[in-house]
């Protein structure tokens, strides 16, 4: 066979040394010509056919991140050169996970296989290690809980690690889910409770993974558990400690729109249903035992110990599931929306807490009221249940999403939750005017388009045109934009602006990717092995991704992916074949195996 190897990249792989790979492939048996065509080349089938004819090639290998993209041109060139079009072989870097530290060898192996017309997956089977039956799940949002329950229900041990004081994640903050408008808590809390009570699930709240070593199938993980200062088993959540606590801070669970004490429970349905102390704000802990300590004296169960210390837990697990989720983009840096400057400009999560029946206003949608801070004498804007309901509300889509200056990608859920907001506002305040400013309405799921239509029929004004200007004239917020379908500039006087803020990976994603050795996308999300074929597996064997941490997705997709991950984990445990990591196979081993198959 006379082979020509052509390198065509779709994206500029910065970390990949194409020249080195080209040099290697030039020395492969049968390779006559190697050409690097660069990133997004404009290919001409006629020129290629001339190359094929002058070099008398009868096999082509297209190498690159997505070579299938260019296959039609090469096939045409082969036709023009009157060669067998079946001999256009693809060496796809993306499909076979060329990234991370083994990228170079992996790419070479893929090309070597393509050159011998041997499927890469046939020869690239790693050495398999026996699997420890316990599983570690990092992050206890809906994805983590779902995956844990699936595995635990199959009778395997699960360590569920959560950074905050309760499991539940972002879903616990929501009021309703789209498109069915089911109560989010009604779906989530039963799952939370069964996760909390399950005998096979070991719940580790206030914890983070600090060290990972070992190999696939037998990872040794060190977990650092922060002191909770309250005995989880003894606490009955009677709230006496919080009543006497003098320290007030913004509640993280309530998106900082309400206050909590330094000893607190994030929300009444928290699991574990126990109070915890915020050591950064507790007077006793900050003064090293000199002041306060009121809660300890009052606690009827004597379960508060403010001198508790952090501890480290060592576990061995066979599989690790990452489900660390997301957070909102810091919208304060997009100045034109006036977030942080004008009181009634809210992020989506803030509104979600405002409209939630367990929120600080008891689910009443109100505008902020001015209050004078007793200590500092400065003006403060707070949500009070007695506040005036808004009469006009603007909801702005795509804030920081699909924007090359911030997030180039679509956050996928904003269109739908914005429509849901419009519905909730209309439901609670009958005479309200709701304006949705959107660029494209992405109602892509089952029942979503119908939901969007329903919201439009409910009388929400849906304006095609994105507004960037939120201004304040006196006490009045003005939203200026272009109504594109109506060919008019519009100015709406509104009382409240809700920003559908784009999503970014959670804070610890970078840290986790480093200690676990998992690559991340250019956007920061964890990268899966293959987006189509293996959306839950990662480059490292025995480590999986589930939910938002892999990329923006809605709750149904998150739950589905979490269950899929559980299937993978259980498969690896019960098949008895063990799991391995492709890095355990060297380039020469792959080459020799391919040669054997090739000669067969």
């Amino acid at each position: 066979m006379r082979t020509g190897v052509f390198f065509c990249q779709v994206e500029n792989g910065k970390n990949l040394n194409i020249d080195a790979i080209a040099k290697y492939s030039a020395n492969l048996p049968g390779v006559e010509i190697v050409q690097i065509l660069g990133v997004k080349p404009h290919l001409d089938a006629k020129l290629l056919s001339e190359i094929i004819m002058t070099n008398k090639l009868n096999r082509l290998v297209i190498a690159g991140d997505m070579p299938g993209y260019y296959k039609p041109v090469f096939t045409k060139a082969m036709l023009l050169a009157e060669q067998n079009t079946d001999e256009v072989r693809l060496a796809s870097f993306q499909e076979h996970g060329v990234r991370g530290e083994y990228a170079l060898d992996r790419a070479k192996a893929i090309i070597a296989c393509a050159n011998m017309a041997v499927p890469f997956s046939l020869v690239a089977s790693p050495k398999r290690n026996p699997v420890s039956h316990a599983t570690l799940v990092i992050g206890a949002g809906i994805a983590g809980i779902q995956a844990s329950l699936e595995i635990a229900n199959a009778g395997k041990h699960v360590y569920l690690v959560e950074q905050t004081g309760t499991i539940g994640g972002h879903m616990a903050m929501f009021d309703k889910t789209f498109p069915t408008l089911d109560c989010a808590a009604c779906i989530l809390t039963p799952k939370m409770v069964s996760a909390g009570q399950h005998e096979m699930i070991h719940l580790l709240t206030k914890s983070r993974v600090s060290e990972v070593s070992g190999k696939p199938g037998a990872y040794r993980v060190k977990i650092h558990q922060h002191a909770r200062y309250v005995d989880v088993d003894a606490c009955v959540a009677c709230n006496i400690c919080a009543d006497v606590c003098p320290v007030k801070v913004e509640s993280e669970f309530d998106s900082r729109i309400s206050l909590r004490k330094a000893i607190y429970i994030p929300f009444p349905q928290a699991v574990p249903n126990s109070y915890l102390v915020d050591p950064e704000n507790c007077t006793y802990i900050l003064s090293e035992g000199q002041k306060c300590g009121a809660c300890v004296k009052k606690c009827p169960k004597e379960c508060i110990n403010l001198n508790e210390t952090d501890k480290d837990i060592d576990i061995e697990v066979g599989n690790i599931i990452i489900a660390t989720g997301y957070e909102l983009l810091d919208v304060g840096k997009i100045e034109q929306y006036g977030y942080g400057k004008y009181p009634n400009v809210l992020t989506s999560l803030e509104f979600e807490r405002l409209t939630n029946a367990s929120g600080s206003t008891g689910g009443r949608i109100v505008t902020k009221t001015r209050q004078i801070n007793k200590k500092t004498g400065a003006d403060e804007w707070i949500f009070s249940p007695e506040g005036a309901p808004p009469r006009n509300v603007a909801i702005i889509h795509c804030v920081g999403s699909r924007n090359k200056n911030y997030n180039a990608y679509c956050s996928r859920v904003c269109c739908m939750y914005s429509l849901k907001f419009a519905h909730l506002i209309k439901e609670k305040i009958p005479n309200v005017n709701c304006y949705e400013f959107y660029i494209d309405m992405r109602a892509f799921g089952k029942g979503y388009e119908e939901f969007a239509e329903r919201i439009k029929h409910e009388g929400t004004f849906v304006v095609r045109g994105h507004s960037t200007n939120v201004e304040m004239k006196g006490e009045q917020l003005i939203v200026r934009g272009e109504d594109i379908l109506n060919d008019k500039m519009v100015e709406f006087y509104v009382d409240m602006v809700i920003l559908a803020v784009g999503l970014i990976p959670a804070k610890g994603t970078d840290y986790l990717s480093r200690i676990l050795g998992i690559a991340r996308d250019p956007d920061g999300w964890f990268s899966e092995l293959d987006y189509n074929g293996n959306p839950t597996d990662t480059e490292r064997g025995g480590i999986y991704v589930a939910g938002m941490c892999q990329g923006p997705k809605d709750i149904p997709d998150t739950v589905a992916q979490a269950s899929a991950v559980a299937a993978g984990v259980l498969g690896s445990i019960s098949s008895g074949k063990g799991i391995g990591h492709l890095s355990s196979v060297t380039l020469s081993e792959i080459e020799s195996r391919a040669k054997i198959i090739h000669t067969l």
Binding site: Q336, N403, K404, H466, K488, M489
Partner: protein
């Protein structure tokens, strides 16, 4: 009426500087942020759409691009980096080439070579003519008065000749602009008194460029620097043009300084020198103002040639006053070698915006009045039908 589309329009605009129009996904951020976009004139998003769709006739018959002063906020905000500000700028270049009936402007904008060669060609011809004329009756050692190398009476006639050629071209182009925008582009009746009523906008916008100042009304410092500098440059230029066309004989008189004439010349020179240096500097260092980040070849020719003219003009003036008529004459020839191609280029280049912009403001005012009346009529009609 069916609208003809030109699918290659977007490629054509590429050579005028608009490279990223195709990236636009029509979010409307640019129109929302623009100070000048309003009920009746709504841009730049709409222009981007027209470009993408190749609606050549629609673009040709609108003067919306002239209402944009390119503050660059749209380009800063654009989530797609489609650069709407630069697209509007390119549309203005394209419109200049459209208003020009000779087709010369089009060649200038599309080819750097044609532009530079034509300037050099005209400069050499001018130089040859002046040198031959000078030596035929004058003395290189005498700058002014009896036996001067280039007598001021001759220069006066020469200026008027060049000036009238330029004015004729410009007038025809301006009439074409009026025809395109106000006859072809308007499908309702405009009462004649609206033209009278709004005539004041013409000098108002010409002398103040107040819309440019409004560009950054949100800016806390209050004064928008590019506007101020641009105004200085423009006023300096206008004064200089009047001096050269009317008072050239007094201007060239010397070596004494005639303050009542020369003081205007000095003020104009200051405005011109500050303006050209400021714009060259901003274009070189790509300053914080977005509008200077991309420079078309014609922009460079514009500022550099003007800078050269101002420099040589000042130099010959100083040399004449300091008693070096020999060098003053040589520099004067070089000065005129720059001035003549500059003046002849005026109707075909970026320079023409001096005329088109105030005209567009005038047209816009008339159009707005008529449109509002039109809407009142059609609105009342609709009600009476009910």
């Amino acid at each position: 009426m069916a609208i003809r589309i030109n699918p290659t329009l977007i490629d054509e605009l590429n050579s005028f500087g608009a490279e990223d129009v195709q990236l636009c996904y029509h979010c409307g951020d640019c129109s929302a942020v623009c100070q000048h976009s309003g009920e009746i004139f709504n841009f730049p998003r709409k222009s981007m759409r027209r470009l993408q769709m190749g609606l050549e006739q629609k673009i040709e018959t609108t003067f919306e691009p002239w209402l944009c002063y390119y503050c660059g906020q749209c380009s800063t905000q654009c989530p797609r980096e489609a650069d709407p500000g630069e697209s509007m700028m390119s549309l203005r270049r394209w419109l200049i080439s459209r208003y020009d009936f000779t087709g010369i402007a089009r060649q200038f904008f599309r080819s750097k070579l044609v532009e530079v060669l034509s300037i050099i060609g005209v400069a050499i011809l001018t130089g040859l003519f002046l040198v031959i004329y000078g030596f035929s009756g004058g003395n290189l050692q005498i700058y002014d008065g009896e036996g001067a190398f280039l007598p001021s009476t001759f220069i006066h006639k020469f200026d008027l000749l060049i000036g009238s050629v330029m004015a004729i071209f410009l007038l025809i182009n301006a009439i074409r602009m009026w025809y395109f925008t106000m006859i072809k582009g308007v499908d309702f009746n405009i009462p004649w008194w609206y033209w009278l009523k709004n005539i004041f906008t013409l000098p108002l916008h010409f002398f103040t460029q107040k819309r440019y100042a409004e560009c950054e009304s949100k800016n806390k410092s209050g004064i928008f620097m590019p506007w101020l500098i641009h105004l200085g440059l423009m006023l300096g230029y206008a004064i200089m043009l009047v001096l050269v066309m009317v008072y050239i004989e007094e201007l060239q008189y010397g070596p004494d300084i005639i303050w009542k004439v020369h003081i205007f010349g000095y003020l104009a020179s200051i405005g011109l020198i500050i303006g050209t240096v400021y714009f060259i500097r901003n274009r070189l260092i790509k300053s914080k103002y977005v509008q200077y980040k991309k420079s078309h070849d014609t922009d460079w020719v514009f500022v550099c040639l003007l800078f050269l003219i101002v420099l040589t003009g000042i130099a010959q003036h100083i040399l004449h006053r300091t008693g070096i008529p020999y060098w003053a004459n040589i520099i004067y020839v070089i000065h005129l070698m720059c001035v003549v191609p500059w003046l002849l280029r005026m109707p075909f280049s970026k320079w023409a915006h001096l005329v088109y912009r105030p005209l567009a403001m005038y047209f816009a005012a008339v159009y707005t009045d008529a449109k509002e009346k039109q809407e009142v009529i059609s609105g009342s009609y609709a009600i009476s039908v009910k």
